[in-house]
Symmetry: C2
Subunit: 467 residues, 2 copies
Amino acid sequence: MKTRIEVEPELIEKLEDIIGNEWVVTDKEVMLDYVADETAPTVCPEPAAAVVLVKPDTSQEISNILKLANQWKTFVFPRGGGTGLVGGSVPTENGIILSLERMNRVIELDRQNLMIVVEAGVTLEKLMEAADEANLLFPLHPGDEAAQVGGLVACNAGGVRAVRYGVMRNYVKGIDVVLPTGEILSLGGKTLKNVAGYDLMHLIVGSQGTLGVITKVILRLYPRFKETATLIIPYESRHKALETIPNVLREGITPLAIEYMERGLMEESAKKLGKEWPVKRGKASLMIIATGNSKEEVYLEADRIDKIAEQYDAIDTLVVENRRKQNDILSIRSNIYLTLKPYIMDVLDVAVPPANMEKLMDELDEIAARYGMYLPMVGHAGDGNLHPHVLMKKAGGAKEEDLEKVKREIYSATLSLGGTITAEHGIGKIRTKSLNDFLDKKTIGIMKKIKRVFDPNNILNPGTIIS
Amino acid sequence: MKTRIEVEPELIEKLEDIIGNEWVVTDKEVMLDYVADETAPTVCPEPAAAVVLVKPDTSQEISNILKLANQWKTFVFPRGGGTGLVGGSVPTENGIILSLERMNRVIELDRQNLMIVVEAGVTLEKLMEAADEANLLFPLHPGDEAAQVGGLVACNAGGVRAVRYGVMRNYVKGIDVVLPTGEILSLGGKTLKNVAGYDLMHLIVGSQGTLGVITKVILRLYPRFKETATLIIPYESRHKALETIPNVLREGITPLAIEYMERGLMEESAKKLGKEWPVKRGKASLMIIATGNSKEEVYLEADRIDKIAEQYDAIDTLVVENRRKQNDILSIRSNIYLTLKPYIMDVLDVAVPPANMEKLMDELDEIAARYGMYLPMVGHAGDGNLHPHVLMKKAGGAKEEDLEKVKREIYSATLSLGGTITAEHGIGKIRTKSLNDFLDKKTIGIMKKIKRVFDPNNILNPGTIIS
């Protein structure tokens, strides 16, 4: 990659004029927290050396910064919570890091319309709390609660509840976005339906900070479900576990989550937390969360699921109703990532049509065997999204020189099953080559032209999505 | 509008070479069915004189036709079921009408993934039947069952069930689309989540045949609900009726439909059908459809709704469980459009944040009073979408010369309440001026550039969305 400009003192002065000295940071120590995200170090791109960090407080300040950057042809890297897994926010060129952290206000909780209006820097944690205080629910839970709303929208995040609630796109009703040329657009609003022209909002959703900087978001909220139960359903056969799923869904039961998990991995993760995985039998398990407005409703749903699972040779289902114990199970599930983290070379994010999950896992087994490696698979089985964790050699994983080949084989297998190389993590900076390899040239050609419509000087988050 | 080209014999010959003589139609009699849609004659644009109708059978044929048209700079007007209300498919320039009617095959009903793959020319009626045969449900019901899937997607259609099920966008998982330059793109697929680059599919949804011709669609299906009950809840006060709605939704009850209706209009519509409107009291009513998997479930939901309505001074609620009687009510509701049709100057399609529906109706009353006109309002009250029917003077409506002023005032009132000029009908050809007047110039500027990315010679459905 080429360096187009160094951070010149004059640029810093101009930035200080826009947002004040205290919000323009050049201290290298501070900067360390802003030049990486959660991407595994093996694949995370190198940050550029000459970067300046700005922390604007309003859309207008961001507009002024972008106008300046556009005039100077300086790269700008918008940054939310830094929880991404594909280097989407890493500043790979000299330029400006634009952190949304100060824009963290809940602007309005609208109980009448069941909506919340927040600034982009509001964290998922704060969003959930605000909804909760109003006795309402933000239905999704896309992983790390330090993620910020702007980032969640920019990445069209998913998470474990997608099987019932879908992805961020389904909840975004309006956004304010500052274009690289400085224009501030308000798209959508509190209406539930809107077909006034091309839906630019839905184009910005998922564009990973390459078309504009999202500054404000209107999200739809829902009434809360009152009770949940977590089912752990063990199976000797992975195939039987996966076969259960479409049969549950076809019965009109849509659980909050349907996760596939391997017992060995769960036990390891539990151990790291000083806890015990509560199920001793079966190689493969489904974790299914049933919900309802009363204990009876939850019990009925759990019972229906259990009866279906039995038909597919499930071993004794564990139904956990105690809230603390349910949280324990979820924390063990979440801790898989931290358990494996020191050994991870790359966490993939492939998805296939849900019914092809079995075939995909079989193919992955074959690939793993071919490379003589252990390939842990954690997956949102209900929606066909699997996260194969490619580990380092020292943890029984792949040789570093094989990483690209392994990924290529996994992507090929996924695409031949009608799948996609990324379901919820995004392309970011580390998957642009794969996008080019696996998406057709015509589609990519249109994407490049759309990038140019919004960002004629290519200043915003370069190297992300568009290579 | 300028005429750029006449239909030359050479063009017709070339079209015949592509799809065969029998599918190239120039007969003026036949053409009459292809140059208008359901738009009220008062506002429907005049069709051009020199048009040729083609009926291709494959995406490849459409690609060849578009390549030819692009080379010749001939306008092309894609056409689905012709059920639109904003002139979106009316050929307002000399050129080619491209009907999708032959591409009406159900390609696959995928029970494992709960999806259906259809060609764009499949009608809503056929789609519903195909889902039904598989004991599954296509959840939306966007009005006229003669509408075709391609058109429903191109218009991001809504309908009475949007309060629970949202709009077409929520069900479209993949599309094949032929660009005006002839490229065939396959976007999305049977995956439930996909963030591999900009979401071009979601940009095509709602673009009303101006960015490409949709030829194939993958739609998500759902398990069927088994039972329904239709509640007619009469009120003396419109305000009380509307106040009921957010309180139902906040309780976690999401009915299949929540429609607002005025008794006078319903009685008139029933009379035209030789039926009787079953409710004799109250000026305003809500029609709410409760659903469930058993009669008990439906009864419980109906009872909860009724109890909430009572708190807002509802008069005796009528609960109709008999299927035939429920259908009668729905047919009376649907017949409003036909009852008013001979007198309609324009059916508007405004939407506001649902809780602002009351205020919008008050404003519309004032506008109606100012113009001394009767302004029937039929509305999807649950999602804030209202269809004010601007009638002709002879039916107690507005003077023809006032129509533009009336619309302008209605749009102004809508926008000042945070609304949109069109929720589900689209901009088509008759609302481009209003879009220009009421949407900001910067947003329209981006839309125009996007149009150019897809359609550099502006051959596809000119005058629609982009004026």
